[in-house]
Symmetry: C2
Subunit: 143 residues, 2 copies
DNA sequence: CTATTGTTGATAGCGATTTTCAATATCATA
DNA sequence: TATGATATTGAAAATCGCTATCAACAATAG
């Protein structure tokens, strides 16, 4: 499972002279097995079930390492709480968010992406990145 | 000055059986006179200069009322701190945000808006609203 | 094995925002 | 205008998500 990601994380730790702790391995495994947009707290609770001794701070610390190593991306939606998604092997995308059930749907629209670049340039802006979220009601929730 | 907005706020308070306090009038005036994307703290400091007795909680409470009455919109950008902008008489817009100087530029692109609607519908979504922020370096900051 | 150095969990701290509460102001009505 | 019901206020405590601190502990090189 996820040998490539494990290697990336190990290599990142090695380069930074960081150690391969049990906690880091455990959290990496659980992170890789859950491909959702989790909050730190949600991840904490899941990790706790399997490894009750793990502390809150370690979750945050490891999430930071995962982001730095390129495996994870931190996102902030409307409520301001950080959420974390898989980054490795995932291309850039934006999100549709259901205001009823809270689910996230990933989308890409190359035409919109092109127009965003153009819009920035029209205003003398040198674009670096963007964020786009569409809020609405998903098919299931509309009944 | 801003007679219309004053009326909207007064009417809103009346409908909700709320009272027309001095503080509310003062904060409304200052809010209306500053057309920026202020944080609660920034507004607090400006209000304090003129009315030193006003409390922090009253700023937040009044900002909430301004939002509910339709005069104000709360926005959250990358740092998670809420910012407040004028809503009355302002059409929907998105933001370009300079990562050097932190300034906000308001933009609308009807073609992007159209494609956003279309994108949502393609995924079976009933769109309600969206948020789009383009981060980059503004003309001035690029030298 | 041992020393060095990084890691951990608990907990304190922080910034933004909300809640609590007793004192006070607003406002409809007498 | 005086009264009283009800809403509002400022100060301070509480909360929330997250980061910093620190002493005990674990990983790794030699
Ligand atoms: Mn995603
Ligand atoms: Mn704006
Ligand atoms: Zn839904
Ligand atoms: Zn700039």
């Amino acid at each position: 499972m996820a040998r490539e990601e494990e290697k990336i994380f190990e290599d990142y730790l090695a380069i930074k002279n960081l150690k391969q702790s049990e906690q880091r391995k455990e959290i990496l495994q659980i992170f890789l097995n859950i491909d959702k947009h989790l909050t730190a707290n949600e991840l904490y609770r899941i990790v706790q079930k399997k490894y009750p001794k793990v502390g809150y701070a370690t979750i945050y610390r490891t999430l930071r390492l995962l982001c730095e190593s390129g495996l994870c991306r931190e996102l902030k939606f409307e409520d301001g709480t950080a959420r974390y998604e898989h980054l490795y092997g995932h291309q850039h995308h934006d999100h549709l968010i259901c205001t009823k059930c809270g689910r996230f749907f990933e989308v890409v629209d190359s035409e919109i992406e092109r127009l965003q670049e153009k819009l920035a340039k029209q205003h003398g802006f040198y674009p670096e990145r963007h964020r786009m979220e569409l809020y609405g009601v998903c098919r299931k929730c509309k009944k």
